[in-house]
């Protein structure tokens, strides 16, 4: 199986450690993951903001970068959902039959990290060690658009040393919402403030999620409050191992 990492533009630019952790984790599980350098972005920001024609070159770059792979794995539920559900809208708008068929072939082969691990590799225990109190924010796009169900909980539950604690009102949106966070900053912050409060109430040391976009927003509020809660991407916890003394 030829596997490509779609790191996402956000992780590539802002959170390279998430990409590095994904690579380390997949290698440890025997997957020789490749990083096609022609990749850029899924185009979600454009589509969700109403700029569909502007998303056409972005989706075209996506299809060209990943066309030759059997599976594309990405550490983002939101970007996986974009590839699976929105690329066809963009391709239709382009009217380009090559792009339409390219998207048709590629979209179903794009997997969010937890889906890839549990469904394609068939692993739940990835051999990680992380002796901390952790709570999970199940991001909306993973939960509702992809339907990843309890895959993240199962993966985290198998990590040695970890203590998982419940996040109150976990299913509620954090309020990031892409450009929503800039177009409606007051509502976005009001939602995020409640999420941050729930994170503090959970008593966790670490907040984990499968999307750094949500985490960037929640962390932005937590650090402003000097809340002392760390945020980490799922890949980083799953990549963590006991350091040999």
């Amino acid at each position: 199986m030829k596997v490509a990492l779609f790191v996402t533009c956000l992780n590539d630019t802002m959170f390279p450690a998430t990409g590095q952790a994904t690579v380390a984790l997949l290698r440890r599980l025997g997957v020789d993951v490749d990083f096609p350098k022609a990749q850029t972005c899924c185009g979600q920001m454009h589509v969700n903001s109403g700029y569909v024609p502007e998303a056409i070159p972005v989706v075209r770059a996506f299809v060209e970068a990943f066309a030759g792979y059997d599976a594309v794995v990405t550490p983002s539920g939101s970007c996986a959902a974009s590839a699976r559900h929105q690329h066809k809208i963009v391709a239709q708008r382009s009217g380009d039959p090559t792009l339409i068929s390219g998207v048709q072939g590629l979209s179903p082969r794009v997997y969010e990290l937890s889906e890839f691990l549990v469904d394609l590799l068939g692993v739940v225990d990835v051999g990680a060690y992380f002796p901390h109190r952790v709570t999970l924010h199940p991001s909306c796009h993973s939960t509702r658009l992809l339907g990843v169900g309890n895959r993240c909980e199962r993966l985290l539950g198998a990590v040695r040393g970890i203590t998982m604690v419940d996040l109150p009102e976990a299913e509620e949106c954090c309020g990031f919402g892409g450009t929503f966070s800039m177009k409606n900053p007051d509502v976005s912050v009001a939602m995020g403030a409640d999420k941050a409060r729930h994170v503090r109430e959970s008593g966790a040391e670490v907040l984990v999620a499968g999307d750094n976009s949500c985490l960037m927003h929640i962390k932005g509020l937590l650090t402003r409050q000097r809340a002392g809660v760390r945020v980490m991407h799922l890949a980083e916890i799953l990549a963590a191992q006991e350091v040999a003394a």
Partner: protein, 501 residues
């Protein structure tokens, strides 16, 4: 006499929402109310093992109606006429109002009683009646609270959801006496006492009124039967006591047969109030001699619905049965309340229905509505007729943007065009990352950026921004051959990229 307020002049959503968020009483009322209904709904939906099949059936029935609307409407008109009702067709709000006012005026009345109805809210019928010197008394308890309080509805099912009971008591004490039977001076905020005051106040109007106006939840095409679903029984008083009954019905309310009601009467109360069955389900078919209203009118309104029907993605919004489950679960609506949406249809369904009924590209407030969502999808998850609200929101955002493409591009258009160019080729993204890394070193403190100038202050006013790292992922991959050589190949799993290195 009461003068009904309208939503005209509501500022665009981000501005109205900012004001609403500052109202801590509103926030607390909304949080309590939405969470209570949300939990009740989840409990009674959980009892159904065929909920998903019911949703499938409901969506299928509505899609059949939308695909064959002309046929079902003509069938309904024939059945209604046979049963002794008079059917009127109204293309828009003005036409519908003219018809209703005309009928009421022909009976020389100066007041009508009203059953809670979204269609009459949508066409602002009360304003038209008042202009003709006819008082329109709302008889639904929550609508009464809104009307007496010189207020606007903020929810389609519980229009006074933004009020708590002590506010309701104050409104009753202050206002009831001005328009009818006053509340007792020793009225408390006990819900039973408040309901008692409303009952006495309304009873007087029920006994006196000659003309009633209603909407309808369903219109059964093959029999011409109208159906109203309610909790209080005040609707049934209006539907049975007056001599003349005028029902204003959106054309999408038609269902083919009585059998189809089986599906909707299971879904609607559970999705709406979280009840297995609502207390009052009234059905009537034209005129019954010697029983109930002897003059029955049905006004079928389009008012933008056929335009919505022509939109292949947006037409699913016409499946809506006005249950309000979407607003009760919406994290945005919960925090802003309904008034910020500037429409009788607030919340997620309002954010798609209002722009489609009004048309986009005309006014700023309408165009802001499809953007009043984080696209979390909670609405779609609960919708009993499976309206994919996030899908329609994204579709409408594109329509809004497309409607503004002529003329000088704004800042966002310029940014999106720039981003499209940058993300169209990886070498350009790499260049941007180099610049971002430099910027991070200039502006970052302990890995965070605290304050930025407008428009970026929209982020940094309340949130820190992570400083971009010196090395992007793609540069790391190139430098280390994908982590196979050199430093930094093994992340320590401590999230250190977000702290100072």
């Amino acid at each position: 006499m009461i003068v009904t307020r309208t939503f005209l002049g509501t500022p665009p959503f981000p501005v109205a929402a900012k004001a609403a968020l500052a109202n801590s009483q509103l926030r607390s009322n909304m949080r309590n109310a939405t969470h209570t209904i949300r939990d009740k709904r989840a409990r009674v939906i959980g009892e159904l093992d065929d909920f998903e099949q019911l949703r499938d059936a409901a969506a299928d029935i509505k899609d059949d109606v939308l695909a064959n609307m002309g046929r079902y409407l003509v069938q309904a008109e024939e059945a209604l006429t046979r049963a002794g009702a008079t059917v009127h067709w109204a293309r828009d709000a003005a036409e519908a109002n003219r018809i209703v006012v005309g009928i009421a005026a022909s009976h020389k009345v100066d007041e009508v009683v009203k059953v809670k109805s979204m269609a009459t809210q949508e066409i602002e019928l009360n304003v038209a009646l008042e202009a003709a010197g006819i008082a329109a008394w709302e008889t639904d308890l929550a609508e009464l609270i809104v009307q007496l309080g010189d207020d606007l509805p903020s929810h389609i099912l519980v229009p006074a959801i933004h009020r708590n009971r002590s506010e309701v008591r104050e409104i009753f004490l202050r206002e009831m006496g001005k328009v009818g039977m006053a509340a007792e001076a020793d009225l408390t905020d006990d819900p039973a006492e408040l309901a008692g005051a409303a009952r006495r106040h309304l009873r007087e109007k029920f006994m006196r009124a000659k003309v009633a106006i209603s909407g309808a939840n369903f219109l059964v095409a093959d029999t011409g039967t109208l159906c109203v679903v309610e909790s209080e029984g005040n609707g049934r008083m209006c539907l049975t006591l007056p001599e003349v009954l005028i029902s204003v019905v959106g054309i999408e309310k038609v269902v083919p047969t009585w059998t189809d009601l089986e599906v909707f009467l299971q879904l609607l109360p559970r999705s709406a109030t979280g009840e297995r069955m609502n207390p009052y389900t009234s059905t009537w078919t034209g005129v019954t001699a010697g029983d109930g209203p002897q003059e029955v009118h049905v006004v079928l309104i389009d008012n933008g619905r056929t335009t919505v029907l022509a939109d292949q993605v947006g037409r699913q919004a016409l499946r809506c049965i006005r249950c309000s489950a979407c607003m009760n679960v919406c994290p945005v609506y919960e925090r802003t309340g309904g008034h910020a949406y500037g429409s009788v249809y607030p919340g997620p369904i309002g954010a798609i229905l209002t722009p489609m009924l009004r048309g986009v590209g005309v006014d700023e407030a309408t165009d802001a509505l499809p953007f009043a969502s984080s696209l979390c999808g909670a609405c779609y998850e609960v919708c009993p007729v499976q309206i994919n609200i996030p899908e329609v929101l994204v579709h409408l955002r594109a329509k809004v943007v497309d409607s503004h493409r002529t003329g000088v591009p704004g800042a966002l258009q310029a940014a999106m065009t720039g981003a499209s160019w940058t993300l169209g080729r990886s070498s350009r993204l790499a260049l941007l990352q180099t610049c971002a890394g430099l910027g991070g070193r200039v502006f970052g403190r302990r890995g965070l950026i605290g304050r930025l100038p407008p428009p970026l202050s929209r982020w940094t006013d309340a949130r820190d921004l992570p400083a971009p790292p010196r090395e992007s992922f793609r540069r790391w991959w190139t430098r280390t051959d994908g982590g196979r050589r050199g430093a930094g190949s093994q992340p320590d799993g401590m999230g250190n990229e977000r702290s100072e290195k």
